[in-house]
């Protein structure tokens, strides 16, 4: 019944619009305005351009100021401070160009609207002006590019040697994280070894991997460079950490990396934002399928001491899954005929080792 009445109302509205439209045509024919080349509507449109400029400009300014605080995700990395400064710096330069050109566009439209007694100014070209307004954007562009290029090379340059290393692997539809353990070396992984238990595809015949541990959330120490080693095991994903201004694709078959230095612990950020539940988040930012919008992992920035304490508490993957380790031992036993297998050093990570990793 409601559907029927909605349809009826819509149909009636259409009829009304149709009648108004016919009426408009008929009046314009009778008033003779359809024969005039430039009529009243020319003036109306010119005025509307001014209204649009002033009204639209005011709305833009108001909405920008109104939303400014919400649109800046709090920054918590060293390079993020620099890029944010550059972003708003560039936006200010572009904002000037935007306002200037839009005001001229709308003002000229209004100012030079048709007048019966005026003739347009025949002005086909002027080389001097054209050279000037080719050079000005070229110079501004050069400055912006140069600043951007310097920052880009710094960000993408090699990570400091003492950086904390961790590996993030994207899969449909969550993130897996692996730390190198006490030896500071990530062990070999092989996608053919992946199964429900061995999600990373650990190849535990590689000694470097025996002390590697996985984690349900990312912990990083404040004030210390962190090197993310990034891979994917199925489709493209993108490691996106808005608060750290970090983004890098996870590409199957091609490991990528990104390094950054966190500047504020989670607790400090909770105090700063006044939000007791504030959490740094890792999101996927490259379309990857049904669950793309839900690929989330929490990141916790600790004080260095807390980070070490957390690090030492972790148990290695091989220790948690002795049967996986055993299967590799069996294989290597078979391969190396009765050769004495090296004892698996699935030792608990010691506090000193974790400290050494910093």
């Amino acid at each position: 019944m409601t559907t029927l009445s909605i349809v009826l109302v819509l149909a009636l509205l259409l009829v009304v619009f149709g009648l108004l439209f016919r009426l408009q045509i008929l009046t314009s024919i009778f008033s003779g305005s359809s024969n005039r080349e430039v009529g009243v509507s020319n003036r109306v449109n010119a005025i509307l351009f001014m209204v649009f400029l002033i009204g639209g400009g005011a709305w833009f300014a108001w909405s920008f100021v109104e939303n400014f605080d919400r649109m800046n995700p709090p920054i918590a990395s060293v390079h993020g401070l620099a890029t944010d400064k550059m972003f708003w710096g560039s936006m200010a330069v572009l904002g000037v160009a935007f306002v200037l050109t839009q005001v001229l566009l709308f003002w000229y439209s209004y100012r030079y609207q048709h007048k019966d007694n005026r003739r347009a100014f025949f002005f086909p070209h002027n080389n001097k002006i054209e050279v000037i307004w080719t050079l000005i954007p070229a110079i501004v562009m050069a400055a912006l590019v140069f600043a951007g290029w310097k920052e880009w090379t710094r960000i993408t340059g090699p990570a400091p040697k003492d950086a904390v290393v961790l590996e993030i692997m994207g899969k449909q539809f969550n993130w897996l994280v692996r730390y190198p353990g006490r030896d500071q070396k990530l062990g070999v992984v092989n996608y053919r070894l992946i199964d429900a238990v061995n999600e990373f595809g650990f190849d535990l015949s590689d000694q470097n991997g025996v002390d590697d541990f996985t984690a349900g959330e990312i912990h990083v120490p404040k004030g210390h460079p962190v090197l993310l080693r990034i891979r994917s095991r199925d489709v493209l994903h993108s490691v996106y950490m808005p608060n750290f201004r970090v983004q890098m694709y996870a590409v199957p078959g091609m490991p990528t990396k990104f390094w950054f230095t966190p500047t504020k612990t989670t607790d400090e950020m909770r105090a700063q934002t006044g939000n007791p539940n504030f959490t740094y988040e890792l999101a996927c930012n490259q379309i990857c399928g049904r669950g793309h919008f839900a690929m989330k992992m929490s990141i916790i920035v600790d004080e260095p001491d807390d980070y070490v304490a957390w690090f030492t508490k972790q148990k290695s993957f091989s220790e948690q899954n002795p049967e996986v380790l055993a299967s590799f031992k069996q294989k290597s036993d078979k391969l190396v005929d009765k050769a004495p297998a090296t004892p698996a050093a699935a030792a608990v990570v010691t506090p000193t080792a974790a400290k050494a990793s910093l």
Partner: protein, 616 residues
């Protein structure tokens, strides 16, 4: 869809326009052949242009409707969409939109708008319609190839449209169809039959583009009328000409990418696949690179955005000059900047890939090249502004849309300078900032160019005028709508909201802006509904519009010297010769405020400039 257009004859009959070589009595039902060759398999460029236009309008409605559907989801993530069940069927699960279908919606919206509307609908319509008319040719170099171009496009449209209805849904890996997602049906259902149809459709589409492009280029080079040197061409023709060259050089690369993807999907090759464990299974593919696909895709993909925008630039230049009653400022600089943009557009593609793991040094190179392309774009904007300065402006609907085009092109173009900066792109890549940027600079602007073109050349297409008042309403509604949708979208993007998200409710980081997203959705849906004003106006005016005169805008270019409805061969008698450039508006000393290109200098002695005296 678009093929049938039997009433043009009535319009012609009603007006009594002269159409040489046509005997209307031959066109009755008993002559199937005649009907088919006139209305369906026509080789007349003007007819093919209308076929492209109407097919484009059809696709624009579909593409816009799809965006309204996903804006419903984004604006009201908690609402029940059960009421859409009669339309969407099984894609509504327990009152919710299926997340994979959401991705299919954004994928198809992008594909349809970029390729089917703004490439085929825009360039296909106006290159076809205007090239022969404005250069003074009887038709395209090859009418038959031109006909094939439309029918390959039609075939491609049928395949793409059919893919909307198949059981596993249409392609859903984004319009950029990055593998491995697009290569593996295990990864997303849309990568099954839907993606196959997508690739087949695009292959047909590329054939259509190449047939058209070869034709446009040949026609412009070979069939210009007497006196029509390259330096006397209207800017529209320069734009179409360079667009066709861009398409001819870049579309084959997309074809190769599609072909390799087909091999990977169906024949077990590993061009783009490596080290994949999916759906409980390790795939045998090794050695491929998903990044290779991105290079191939964007080698077309970036020139593509200029393929979309350059015809609009050309038409806007023409319309601004005509209605400001002033020569376009810096004619040669306008051609130069078009050339610069065309050249540079081939060497900036990797700015779409700064954070894909590509070598950062390569990123630096592409950042430099990308920001250079802003210079010719800036020159164009300044020249458009200078064209308005001290003009005597008539606000026809086409003029309104042209001014709107300039405004949107500035608004969207400027943020490109931020995105082209690799260091800033780290944070902004794939966020709504990018979505806002390209929707303004290539989406809305190109659409405005398309509307400007339709309103301006409608009289020449159909012999009638579109209703101006409805046009004004359409313009102001759309202009306001576009800004209301895409300005707030920048805020959402600066806050880091990722694109192609079904909902942001799972993240604390993206917990704000539910209100803005609702606002954007409302504005988008109203702006979409407003387009039906245009559609009504368009079809109503074809049959009932006010009758047009030969040259309703007092314009200088050749198409306005043809009869009200030009017939086969365009000019009843000899093709007119051209004596001057196309922008002699308001020339001092001239009687009228425009001098058509066909008027020799000997007839305008009072207005000739010193260097023109010797040409009298």
């Amino acid at each position: 869809m678009a093929a049938n257009f039997p009433t043009q004859e009535q319009v012609q009959g009603g007006i009594g326009a002269t159409e040489p070589g046509h005997d209307h009595a031959h066109h009755d039902e008993h002559h199937e052949q005649g009907f088919l060759s006139k209305y369906v398999f026509s080789t007349d460029h003007k007819y093919i242009a209308k076929q492209f236009l109407i097919t484009g309008i059809f696709w624009a409605i579909i593409g816009g409707a799809l965006s309204s559907l996903f804006r419903l989801q984004l604006g009201w993530p908690e609402a029940t969409l059960e009421w859409l069940k009669p339309l969407l069927g099984k894609w509504i699960e327990a009152g919710k939109l299926n997340p994979e279908f959401y991705l299919a919606l954004v994928t198809m919206h992008g594909t349809i708008m970029v390729f089917f509307v703004l490439t085929a609908g825009l360039s296909g319509t106006f290159s076809n319609f205007l090239i022969p008319l404005q250069i003074g040719a009887r038709d395209m170099a090859s009418g038959f190839m031109n006909m094939l171009s439309y029918w390959f496009f039609f075939g491609s449209s049928v395949v793409m449209f059919a893919s909307l209805f198949i059981e596993t849904g249409p392609a859903a890996a984004g319009w950029t169809i990055y593998p491995p997602l697009s290569a593996l049906p295990q990864a997303i259902a849309g990568s099954g039959a839907g993606q196959t149809l997508w690739l087949v459709s695009m292959a047909l589409f590329i054939i259509s583009q190449l047939l058209g492009g070869v034709n446009y280029i040949t026609t412009v080079i070979n069939l210009r009328t007497q006196g029509m040197s390259m330096s006397k061409l209207p800017l529209t023709i320069w734009a179409f000409f360079l667009t066709a060259i861009l398409g001819l050089l870049s579309f084959p690369v997309l074809f190769s990418a599609a072909l390799l993807l087909i091999f990977d999907r169906s024949f077990g090759t590993s061009f783009f696949l490596s080290d994949i464990y999916i759906a409980g299974q390790a795939l045998p593919n090794t050695g491929g690179s998903p990044i290779l696909f991105q290079h191939l895709f964007w080698f077309l993909g970036h020139p593509e955005v200029y393929i979309v925008i350059m015809p609009a630039m050309g038409m806007v230049s023409e319309i601004l000059a005509t209605n400001a009653r002033k020569p376009v400022f810096g004619y040669r600089a306008m051609i130069g900047s078009l050339l610069g943009i065309s050249l540079l557009s081939f060497i900036v593609w990797a700015h779409h890939m700064f954070v894909t793991g590509m070598n950062p040094f390569l990123g630096s190179v592409f950042m430099f090249l990308t920001l250079i392309i802003a210079v010719p774009s800036a020159v164009k904007v300044f020249n458009w502004l200078a064209t308005l300065w001290r003009g005597n402006i008539r606000f026809t609907t086409a003029m309104l849309f042209s001014i709107g085009f300039v405004s949107l092109f500035i608004a969207g173009g400027l943020t490109g300078i931020v995105l082209g900066n690799a260091a800033l792109d780290i944070q902004l890549h794939n966020t709504y900032f990018v979505v806002a940027h390209f929707h303004l600079v290539m989406g809305s602007s190109a659409f405005f160019g398309l509307w400007a073109g339709v309103y301006h050349w409608f009289p020449k297409m159909f012999g009638r005028m579109m209703d101006e008042k409805l046009g004004y309403l359409h313009f102001w509604l759309t202009f306001a709508g576009v800004y209301l949708v895409f300005l707030p979208m920048h805020y959402v993007g600066i806050a880091g909201f990722p694109r192609r998200y079904y909902a942001w409710t799972g993240f604390d980081t993206f917990s704000q802006f539910a209100d803005l997203n609702k606002f954007i959705s409302v504005a988008a849906i109203i702006a979409f509904l407003g387009q039906f004003i245009f559609i009504f106006n368009f079809f109503y005016s074809i049959w009932r519009g006010r009758r047009a005169t030969e040259n309703p805008w007092n314009s200088t270019t050749l198409e306005w010297t043809t009869p009200v409805i030009p017939g086969h061969g365009n000019w009843p008698g000899d093709i007119p010769a051209v004596h001057r450039w196309p922008y002699d508006y308001s020339k001092p000393g001239a009687e009228e405020d425009f001098i058509p290109q066909t008027v020799p200098y000997s007839q305008t002695q009072s207005s000739n400039l010193p260097y023109e005296k010797e040409m009298e």
